[in-house]
Symmetry: C2
Subunit: 310 residues, 2 copies
């Protein structure tokens, strides 16, 4: 098969692309390298450098037919979305439109979209969210993702595109960019523990906050499963473990596994950040039986990956 996976310089896109390549498929990727590195793109990928939101980038695809488009690329930090909201729209919304147009034009019927749990926002003291819950996005990033989900629904109704919106909860794992300190809670903390340039580990906001943490391999696997499993077609699906891990627990496990004695200091939270949200995964479980690995196991894998590279 022939797939387009956008954002293969990012760790989720790279993981998906690698798995598809390992299964013998052809993979084309588009990435603007705004936060990823070209070296992170799997070697056998056909790489087009550019912004998905620009026509000249789409033109480089030469009207090639794909069996599915997996749109994983996008500015993915809620914090950064506050610095340049207009760029964020472009990255997360216009890009989806351009790819949907391309799908219609080239008769590609399958479209998988990397959405986010951020679309739910914070709703009073509600912690667990199912796909039927209201969406009250608190960051520009989340607004753009939610708009993209609506575009998919409209393209399904109007043009018969079979879409899947995967609402990723917090994803972590080997390959995550440790140099980007605005994106990825686990990578941000690990970087500070590991890099001697940091004398202390700074946590922005309360350690009582929690996340629903999924290992990147599990997220990539379910994303690939969704391509051909019809139960995923035209659905919005939470992708998470359904379990809470507090920041306190994350920090404790990191200290233990790394044998670190660095001091942790707590500072003020960032704009639009969420206290804690975890997935109601009953919809996912009803159509996908593979279990996600626990954070303790995943963190060890991630640390091993980092050490292997050092």
């Amino acid at each position: 098969m022939n797939y387009l996976v956008t954002g293969a310089a990012g760790f989720i896109g790279a993981n998906i692309a690698q798995k598809l390549l390992d299964s013998g498929h052809r993979v084309v990727t588009i990435d603007n390298l705004s936060t990823g590195y070209e070296s992170a793109i799997p070697k056998q990928c056909i790489f087009i450098k550019g912004d998905v939101s620009e026509d000249r980038t789409i033109q480089k695809l030469n009207n090639a037919n794909f069996d599915a488009i997996l749109h994983i690329a996008g500015q993915s930090s809620g914090e950064v979305s506050f610095e340049d909201p207009a760029y964020d729209i472009n990255s997360n919304t216009v890009s989806t439109l351009k790819l949907l147009d391309y799908a219609v034009k080239t008769k590609c019927k399958r479209f998988i979209y990397a959405s986010t749990m951020s679309v739910y926002g914070e709703q009073d003291k509600k912690e667990q969210f199912s796909e039927n819950d209201a969406t009250i996005p608190k960051s520009f990033y989340a607004v753009g993702k939610l708009a993209s989900e609506s575009y998919l629904r409209i393209y399904q109704e109007q043009y018969g595109i079979k879409y899947t919106s995967l609402r990723y909860f917090n994803v972590y794992g080997a390959g995550q960019n440790l140099e980007n300190l605005k994106q990825g809670m686990i990578s941000i903390y690990l970087k500070q523990f590991i890099d001697d340039a940091f004398k202390k580990v700074e946590v922005k906001g309360s350690v009582g906050r929690f996340r629903d943490l999924s290992y990147v391999d599990d997220v990539a696997s379910v994303s690939i499963e969704s391509i051909h499993n019809e139960k995923f077609y035209n659905e919005v699906i939470n992708i998470g473990t359904g379990k809470k891990t507090t920041i306190k627990k994350m920090l404790q496990l990191m200290k233990d596994y790394l044998g670190s004695s660095k001091e942790v200091i707590i500072s003020r939270g960032t704009k639009g950040d969420q206290f804690g949200t975890y997935a109601d995964v009953s919809k996912l479980k009803s159509i996908y039986s593979k279990e996600f690995i626990g954070f303790d196991v995943g963190l060890r894998k991630m640390i091993k990956g980092i050490k292997d590279e050092m």
Copy 2:
């Protein structure tokens, strides 16, 4: 007072601007004249020609302070939004961001936004919508409007902007552009009845469909009321009559009032068009006591306005 009213070449924006001018206020408007005419802009308005979504347009405001910004401009046809979804985002979403940024920069605390009942979409056989109902937009136009509503909420949380999102239901009335056959059900039908170039009146979709029709004067009045009435602050509010008027009824009244014998033909509906939606106006009624005029009265006023101009 000094107000910025975007879109004063459009009939709602023009009506709001005129009322503000009549009350002795200063009004600046921005309009790109994409569907409106410069001649429709009230004479005393200070007119800046340009796209609100472009920085060079915003720069022409010279950092002037406004007591309130009323963002009424925007591509407003669901049908047109399917022709160029990316333009639609720009018109309806980036423009809101640029104005919100301007409001923060110039310390303008009051922002009124012309949203739409289209954000609700069609939900099975549900006909009446309140502000607490789910939003499932069916057109790109509606997606952009809904995203803008989220931006307002974020700017309120982050920067203390006091916003009001007015979800206009179908607005009609004197000053409506009869030459734009893609926008405004009443104006589209009236144009076909009045203009001899049309041998018949074409209705796209069933005459059993209905609309909640508000006369433009009423909509402008409540929009202006919202500027200083604190009960409107940081609220999303349906603006409609809470009453249904079927297309059959609209056509019958037009025939009667115009004394027309033109044949009406029914053709296929347009993409993303809605069967029928009317407002739950209990929230509006709880904070605003003035009654909206009925469609029979409003249609007579509109037809009189058109005849006076001929």
